[in-house]
């Protein structure tokens, strides 16, 4: 019989599991604190924080509010975010009911197309809208030549809000879809049995069940509206409409002559507090949503509503909507990349060119930005998945004393807007001696991206983890395995599908990211997103669309492979 040595707690036994607990916790804390600390410090300093004679002051906040138009900027941000949220929630929820519960023809593929915008950045979407619906956009010109007036103005706060809302609708859609399709069919049957018609049953039983999903995604979309850079930058720039993010971006990037570090820090803090409050509010609103829990162990399939003779009419409506707001946007980008200029007045096949792509592939900078993007997404995705998995395992499946605090810490980046994370890491590398080493490399980008998307990865792994009964770990422990062996031999192999999904999600997010990188990249570490930002600023629409096309194609190939080969679940 194997004799086993007895360990006593009194003696300092360094076991490897404990090392990992502390290692993961400390690393997470360092990651979360490194962008936050410098921003907070900077906001209260009268000079850039790397200067040794900087003194404490509150003047930054005072100057921020004295700044001309500051109030307007905050109001713009609020209006834009509210509109983004409202549009996203309405379209998302309606589409969820239509796709999830009716017999609309082709609802399978319409649903798939509807989530496309989630795979690409807002920058690409914004550029697509600009190409089709901008003041000299393809569809705008076509409509003007037909009816004589321009029926819309994209370069307005409302225009921006609608575009942002439509690009965020898939998020609301996915969450509501989960709620309506998983709703226990028996609940609706019960309503039917007491005399409600099918639509009445849907409206009074199932639609209220979407409430938690609606609330949750509403706050999420509001936060995304507040921290969104691309759409306000592209559409607000020409007409001089500023939001907090474009203000931060302009002050931090473009004001090279007069870098207003103090004001930027102060504005960043206000933004941070606002977002943190919203994330807290989200948690608060979601409390007690247990009574809306609709998922039961043996839920039968919800019944499908027969639209009857409205089937094809509704199909026409939904298809037109999806065509005009999604297909046309992507088509516009592809088309624009293949022509010298895009106009409804000349048939596009007379303007075909490969010049845009040639320009991308002949420039070392542009090629490097593509390579960097792929490397960051792949390597960062792998490292991120490993790190997030460890966090989830320590937080949920270990005897670590600070397991709960670790989870809160790891989920904090939800409240950290990308632009602030970027700015914070930018300050950190300037400020902290030694970090100079990774300044301007793709490693700092990877670090910032990983931090920012820990919650996304966690969201992919945690639910799967709670499906794995904890007696499986206990069985391994009692059979003689320590914590590390247990998780690596028992829990992780069972979690494999969730790990693949986590990796795929992180890959997509890293690959499309641009905001967080805006302050962090330098020549040599540019990524597709930052290069596109620069090209957009210069008005080089041909290369922008070529780059966007390349990004979309790589993403599509990746999603296809990830679903096929890894069986990853990415947005349904």
């Amino acid at each position: 019989m194997t004799d086993l040595s007895v360990q006593r707690e009194g003696m300092p036994v360094i076991d490897r599991s404990r090392l990992i607990f502390w290692g993961v916790a400390i690393l997470t804390a360092v990651l979360v604190i490194s962008p936050l600390a410098p921003i907070i410090v900077q906001a209260f300093l009268d000079r850039p924080l790397y200067m040794s004679d900087a003194g404490l002051t509150l003047d930054n906040f005072a100057r921020l509010f004295r700044e001309a138009g500051m109030l307007g900027i905050f109001l713009n941000t609020l209006y834009f975010a509210v509109l983004t949220m409202a549009v996203a929630q309405v379209f998302g929820a309606v589409m969820a009911v239509i796709i999830g519960r009716t017999n609309l023809p082709g609802r399978q593929w319409i649903g798939e197309i509807f989530v496309w915008p989630l795979f690409v950045s807002n920058l690409v979407i914004a550029f697509g809208w600009f190409t089709m619906y901008g003041p000299s956009g393809f569809i705008t010109l076509a409509v003007r030549s037909w009816i004589g007036v321009e029926p819309w103005n994209l370069y307005s706060l409302t225009g921006m809000g609608v575009v942002a809302g439509l690009s965020q609708a898939p998020l609301a859609y996915l969450m509501c879809l989960g709620a309506v399709t998983k709703a226990d069919a028996q609940l609706e049957s019960a309503a039917r049995s007491v005399g409600a018609g099918p639509f009445r049953a849907l409206w009074s039983v199932t639609v209220p069940m979407m409430r938690p999903a609606l609330i949750y995604s509403a706050v999420l979309n509001f936060v995304i509206g507040i921290e969104m850079l691309a759409i306000p930058l592209l559409f607000g720039g020409p007409s001089g409409i500023q939001t907090v993010t474009t203000f931060l971006y302009d002050q931090g990037i473009n004001a090279a002559v007069r870098p207003e570090y103090g004001i930027v820090g102060a504005a960043a803090i206000i933004l941070l507090m606002l977002v943190a409050f919203l994330v807290w509010l989200q948690g608060f609103l979601m409390k007690g949503s247990g009574r809306f829990v609709t998922v039961r162990g043996k839920a039968s399939r919800p019944s499908v509503l027969d639209l009857g003779r409205w089937r094809w009419a509704l199909f026409a409506l939904v298809f037109a909507f999806v065509f005009l707001t999604i297909i046309a946007i992507f088509a516009g980008i592809f088309l624009r990349s293949a022509v010298t200029f895009l106009t409804p007045l000349v048939p596009f096949w007379k303007l075909l060119t490969t010049a845009n792509f040639e320009m991308i592939f002949s420039s070392a900078n542009y090629v490097r930005s593509i390579v960097n993007s792929v490397v960051i997404a792949l390597v960062g995705g792998l490292i991120g998945t490993a790190f997030v998995a460890l966090i989830a395992l320590v937080a949920r499946r270990s005897e670590f004393r600070f397991a709960r605090p670790l989870e809160y810490l790891a989920l904090f980046p939800r409240a950290l807007p990308g632009i602030i994370a970027g700015l914070g890491f930018f300050y950190a590398v300037v400020w902290v001696p030694g970090l100079d080493l990774i300044r301007g490399t793709i490693w700092i980008l990877m670090l910032a991206f990983i931090l920012r998307y820990i919650p996304i990865g966690f969201g992919a792994i945690a639910p799967a983890l709670s499906q794995v009964g904890d007696e499986l770990d206990k069985g391994a422990r009692i059979a003689g395995a320590d914590w590390l062996t247990t998780v690596s031999r028992i829990v992780l192999p069972i979690l494999k599908p969730a790990l693949f999904s986590c990796f795929a999600l992180l890959f997509i997010h890293f690959f499309k990211e641009y905001v967080t990188a805006a302050f962090l990249f330098q020549p040599g570490s540019e990524i597709i997103g930052t290069t596109m930002l620069q090209l957009v600023a210069q008005g080089d629409n041909g290369p922008v669309s070529a780059l966007a096309t390349i990004q979309v194609i790589i993403t599509a190939v990746f999603v296809f492979l990830a679903r096929r080969l890894l069986g990853a679940r990415i947005y349904g």
């Binding site: 499986l472 206990k474 422990r477």
Partner: protein, 358 residues
Amino acid sequence: MADLVLDHLTIQYGDVKAVDDVSISVASGEFLTLLGPSGCGKSTTLFSIAGLNKATSGSIRMGDKVLFDGATNTFVPPEHRNIGLVFQSYALWPHMTVAENLAFPLKLRRLGKTERDERIAEALKLVEMTRYADRYPYELSGGQQQRVALARALVYRPSLLLLDEPLSNLDAKLRERARVWLRELQERLNVTTIYVTHDQAEALAVSDRIAVMSMGHLRQLGTPKEIYERPADSFVADFIGSSNFLAGRMVQQEASHAVVELKNGTRLRTAPGQARSDGSLVVAIRPERIEIVPELCENSFLAEIGTGTYLGSIYQYHVTIADTELRIQTARELPPGPVHLRIPPEATAVYAEAPGEY
């Protein structure tokens, strides 16, 4: 193999004491059952022996090895205890075949491949599952999974085997066969075993001794016969088998017997026992011990046969004696109507507290 000793073990969650000052010692090779209603702290006790939860105070020792001691803050992690544990849900690792499930603990103990294979074959043979070595857990029936779980817990020859309601997922027939088989296996291997169940028939059938628990307390520790025939208190009397309870007060207390006055004034001769300070008590009598007599005599009552239930091998009837409804069990069917019932004094037990009063 060594004795296992739980000494004043207390396990607290918040302000709930899931296990409250429990002391048990289990002899080497013994089959001890923890029995009690749901939520009484059986699993909590078992898991603290395994090291899967940490007790609040007291100690757990196996031979001269201290597994847990609240006073010195000693805690041996589960993987260093060399204990076998079978979970109610079996907890077979779904991504490993039966053989791989058994191999895992052996690999952790760094056994060579040949010895490993030998031991796996031996363990599978023991549970009659040799044919299924290459199956995955989901390809097995519940009963087969339960055997594999047992084989996995035995394959590394643990010094102690813990079983948490291992048979509760099986159907009644299979459960009865499995418990006989389990007991035979345990005797053959002579492995010290602690078995958790809330099924009293199972406990009575397989155990050397039974520890009856309720709300974290150890109520009685004894052989099945002791527990059944001499319940230490009315909770045990009620939980094991079943008992009728007649409330009354003490009239006369002797060394050999007692006389109790029931609520309606009738007097009853009973076994000796203790009453509360105000004289109130309950008399417990098992339904099958109530006799039907041809005419009134001492300790007998005239009663009316009420509704009956056919329980398969016996009949159970509700009758009313001294304003209290009782159950009686008989081997043959009784015609409705009046009957004389006798409560034999030697079949009674007297307790100060009624079963619900703890």
